[in-house]
């Protein structure tokens, strides 16, 4: 399941949906809005996306992960709009019968998302704001 939403991400609901007795492992990644960047305090973030393409790319990541690892299920949910410090911007959950594929697929999903999914964040500081593009 992939979703792009503007409301807070309900992690518990996502995990409950994919957690099954036939799977011995659920690995999750919780992307948190950090309170600093490059030594500067951050007040809040704004995320924007090319939504139609972002959804397609998130689906592609799920399909590729299923092909590479014997996982049972994977969910990726990204939030857009204004996010405050400590909130979750992206949440990934992977279930598999054994833990290793779930760990590896989860890491693959977040690393690939950061490379190919067209979603950008703007960091707001006390004295201005900048788009974070490329490595940061």
């Amino acid at each position: 399941m992939v979703l792009i939403i503007r409301e807070p991400i309900d992690q518990k609901k996502i995990v409950e949906r994919l957690r099954k007795p036939s799977d011995g492992a659920v690995v999750t990644f919780d992307g948190v809005v950090r309170d600093h960047a490059m030594g500067k305090p951050v007040c809040y973030l704004e995320y924007e996306a090319y939504e139609e393409m972002a959804l397609k790319k998130m689906e592609q990541i799920c399909a590729d992960a299923r092909e590479k690892w014997p996982i049972s299920d994977i969910s990726i949910v990204h939030r857009l709009g204004r996010l405050d410090i400590g909130e979750t911007s992206v949440f990934i959950a992977v279930a598999s019968p054994h833990r290793r594929p779930a760990f590896e697929a989860c890491q693959y999903a977040i690393d690939t998302l950061k490379k190919i999914v067209p979603i950008w964040k703007k960091e707001y500081y006390t004295d201005g704001a900048i788009w974070i593009e490329g490595q940061s």
Partner: protein, 85 residues
């Protein structure tokens, strides 16, 4: 031919719009032609020519990708990346 163009993040700030329509006379235009059209209008865009990502109808494309009437061309700044450690 007429194509729809979309700009995101800092690129949308430069052109002060998120969408545009452009009429191209060349019947065999490429994504690069569309970018050239906008960078001549907005010189700040040209700075991005090296590391911009291009898309046609929601799929990654290159400057050589040919476009047809009604296509949606998108100019995407590099995504935020994040650091592993």
């Amino acid at each position: 031919m007429r194509v729809n163009v979309r700009f995101f993040a800092s690129l949308a700030d430069i052109v002060k719009s998120r969408t545009a329509e452009v009429e191209l006379e060349d019947p065999i235009a490429t994504v690069g032609d569309v970018f050239a059209y906008f960078s001549s209008k907005y010189p700040d865009l040209a700075k991005y020519s090296e590391n911009i990502m291009l898309a046609v109808n929601g799929e990654f494309a290159t400057a050589d990708t040919k476009i047809k009437s009604g296509d949606e061309v998108a100019f995407l700044p590099p995504v935020s990346g994040g650091v592993w450690s």
